[in-house]
Symmetry: D2
């Protein structure tokens, strides 16, 4: 089969020919119908510091996907050949204390598809049965593959509990834009999106933002005085500082974006005296976030985010489009 792999510990990736994998007893083999490019894939491609510390080549990359069950392992009993599926990408052990406390998505022995084991930029991949998700048949593959990042946005918004609240979202990446539509659907009073790209902010408006701010040109602090909820989805130290400044007494700060380095926080003024709650959010709750995501996709249309659909072989073009902010989400089609 064809697959896109990181073969050596240097920037770049290669299109390779490799044997179709065989599922283990508790795994299924999926024929990939659509797989989408995530920021993590860009980091691995670019071989940034995080990737150097985490990735062991050779590795097939990619993790957002939709496809069809092609073969099942001998112990699989909940899925059949032909099922239309996506996959939770956080592989959990099911035995550690965190798993036992109902939080497998932050399993102490977490492994991630396309990071710690072969991924979905391929014609086929194997995944354990316990992370498989049966897709709503009304979602086409290029939307179904987006359920994974959409789940990040669902998990972020639900952790904040936005009903009746004024919400500011920092970060106009695909997940920040998705969060706009979810926050509106879940009863936020107002949702303001702060970003750096006019094209993306325009899509944010179309997805329901009450107002957008381009932080390259406009002063956030002059436009917004106070807010009750900040969803930090950019990882930018400036956004983090602004987010804390904007929060009212008793406010909520959700940390989803990943800064590259430690960020100085004025704990006394910004957390203690204002009694702020900060919550880290990663991944998706398995599978309650997927269920809520599926519901929301009946009222939220993600099509405007799918700016490009390319054959797998054009992965490098896709990666470049997404890096240059020319694309929002690029879908790769392996067949």
């Amino acid at each position: 089969m064809k697959a896109v792999a990181k073969l050596t510990p240097v920037p770049g990736a290669a299109l390779i020919d490799v044997k179709v994998p065989t599922p283990m007893p508790q795994e299924v083999l999926i024929r990939v119908a659509a797989t989408s490019i995530c920021g993590t894939d860009l980091h691995i491609y670019d071989w940034n510091k995080w990737a150097q510390g985490r990735i062991n080549p050779p590795l097939i990359i990619g993790h957002e996907l939709a496809g069809y069950v092609e073969e099942i392992g001998s112990e699989v009993d909940s899925f059949s050949v032909g099922d239309y599926v996506s996959a939770e990408t956080h592989l959990y052990c099911g035995h550690c204390k965190t798993c036992c406390n109902g939080k497998p998505h932050i399993c102490d022995n977490l492994r991630i598809i396309g990071v710690d084991c072969n991924g979905s930029f391929a014609q086929y991949l194997t995944v354990p049965e316990n992370v498989l998700w049966k897709n709503d048949p009304s979602l086409p593959p290029e939307i179904a593959t987006l359920q994974e990042p959409f789940g990040n946005a669902v998990h972020t918004v639900q952790t904040a509990d936005v009903v009746g609240k004024r919400v500011v979202i920092f970060g106009d990446g695909p997940i920040g834009i998705m969060a706009v539509s979810i926050a509106k659907a879940e009863g936020a009073e107002t949702v303001l999106l702060v970003g750096l790209s006019d094209v993306r902010l325009e899509i944010g408006l179309a997805m329901g933002a009450d107002e957008v701010i381009n932080a390259r040109r406009e002063s956030v602090a002059e436009i917004i005085k106070h807010t009750e909820v900040v969803l930090e989805m950019s990882g930018s130290p400036i956004a983090i500082k602004q987010g804390f400044n904007l929060l009212e007494n008793g406010g909520i700060f959700i940390a989803f974006g990943l800064p590259d380095a430690p960020v100085p926080i004025d704990i006394s003024e910004e957390i203690v005296f204002k009694e702020i709650t900060v919550k880290g959010v990663v991944g998706r709750e398995i599978f309650s976030t997927w269920e809520r995501g599926q519901q929301l996709l009946q009222q939220i249309n993600l099509a405007p985010l799918v700016t490009h659909q390319l054959p797998l072989a054009e992965y490098e073009r896709g990666i470049k489009l997404q890096k240059n902010y020319e694309a929002v989400k690029v879908i790769l089609l392996p067949h």
Copy 2:
């Protein structure tokens, strides 16, 4: 009357003679039976950076107190002359959005006794009726005055919800030590106290700590591997860093200590990937924290913390004892 005041914007304080104040219609006049020295008083005395930015001399300092109602304003209807009382020190407006949402202790227009208006290092002071607390008559004044800092500790522990949890407390100041006893009473599995003073850590053990660590001599990271709850009550950047390191996935970090400057936080590794919850805690909930505190004082004995009782005129000795870690809590007796 006699009072201890900051008269000019320089280090130090003076014992002065001043007229007994007259209560406004919604205030009472309290004859102070006991008042205790808090870290805030040391900051004002030392005229540190925070004090320089906040305090407008002349000001009578002090805010932890117990005493008797001497006179009531014309509109006061819930208290009578002779009532044995203490006072919540966070004066709230009752009208702002935060007050209306049931959080007057972080009122948008907050004023603090002994910081923003005259305080309790005096023979008499006036306070608004709506912050008065009727003391349990079984508490002697030198214990009743400690309800205010004890309330800080109650509020900190309850914000964490420690039932069945392994808890690490950073900070062996009086409030950290009080938190030990509360965490044990509220069902923590284990409570470990990290501090810098053997004398205070010894008291921490006597108050119920399962283990104490003197961070001057011992390596916290070697002794404790993981914990579920960190109560940060020291304000030390080193403690904050260690606290985040120790937390397990899904853990809780309560920020009560006040660092002097911004502290670098590795948001990606320490908050996002571990899905940590950080909550700032300040003051006390009015008055649910006071009620819970009163209950707890039926089983927790604070007498070991009261290392010194001095006449008001010896305030400077008290301040020095407390600064030099020779005292835990110094009580001043104005009459």
Copy 3:
């Protein structure tokens, strides 16, 4: 002034002439611009069993209102003559344990306007400053008076936390219909309204219900199989039984309707084995519910519920219209 009062302990009410009341020091006098008829007023008029046990004539009835401050007591400092206001109708003591725990709406010494003291079916009434609410000037009086029952609906829906949930509302009275629109605004997946009046169910559809069921003609159990949330707003023993039957494992039952007599509940099957949560809801949180209500009224239009506006003197016609299900909400105009 003119007022509608229950003068003797028998069915009915009378239009009387009475002196305009004088506000106490902590009260204001309101000139009533609009007051609306509630089910409670019908019970007092009809002199049902509850009314016989609770009401002490003579009493001016009515409690939903909007108007203007005409005069202020000597200690009032947050409101001025001319302010456009409504009033929380649950008068609280502010001193009992329940008030101190932040739940004044279920104060241990609760008194209700128009039930325990003179009410709003009058040209003027006095209310304590601490229950006054400054109205959004964009709401006309006939809508502003509905904030009180609308607040019941807000409080009911928020207690359930309906985000992403399938919700069934029993009861097509005005508050049940209001709850439909709020549940949709707060992210319920689907909202189904069960009632007895086609006219009212039609309004429920217009207010956003996904489906309505007339229980006089249709079998609820055949139409709905399972639900996650039941909002019981009818007080009917049949609805209560059906509501518990419909709930899935882990479901939530909000009890707002008031049955006349004890209702048999199969605690083993309907509460224990399914781990159902039942929460009673009464009144409104003071004032967080009012704030959320004001927000929601920017997107929810209550005008379709105002079927009649009558002069105060026609109160009997209004009461009859509402009793016969010919009206949804009747507004009385005292001036």
Copy 4:
């Protein structure tokens, strides 16, 4: 092997010889070291109405157990021969919506050991790997078998959140008595136990109750005026009525006891006006309740509850002792 089975649909049970079962691929075979008699076993023995509707003879009864893994199925990978184990008795499907939402203990397809499949009153039984619990080796088998009912008590107390609360427990059965010790350990202000047997109430006192009431002789309503939390662990309609009466505004009622028939509840007065929260509790959270239970057993000694240890063949004597209130917990020893 020897086992105690219900062979025909009539009262009683028989000691039988039967083949040792063979574990399926995902099951283990356990050699039972100790198994304890539960009220459910008495119901099946007596063939009460519930048993008649639920049990299909022939069936080996019993479900509380401790033992050693004797053999493992081909797909078992987390347990080995010789492991010292107990078992969660609620067998869950892992696929239904309730399981996916993290509540397998109320699985929509729930099956119970010794009720829906063969149980532990036997020398050996098979159980699925996913309900196995590795025992703390310091617990002897006659205590380890009690972790299952102890888990009921843990789950009940934790659902209430008793920190600082006045708690009344109705029911002096073994689980009610266990709940006393847990509520004290988790910071309840006071715990009062209401029951019918002086012997059991005496044990309740020894386990930490602040006060006990024998409802046969004493009037609950005269002794207690108000409480914040009721743990209803008796199933008695009288206790349920008293429990609701005692609750203060805003109180919590945990329903764990199983009444035989519907109980009339005054929803208006007892739930709505007081804004009471009622929560049903069944089983144990898998496995967070087991973990918390294991912690608590380091400070709580269950030995006083183990009044009898008998060979399996004396099961009828054990059942009688427990029915006549002569025993608290009877342990059967199959080897």
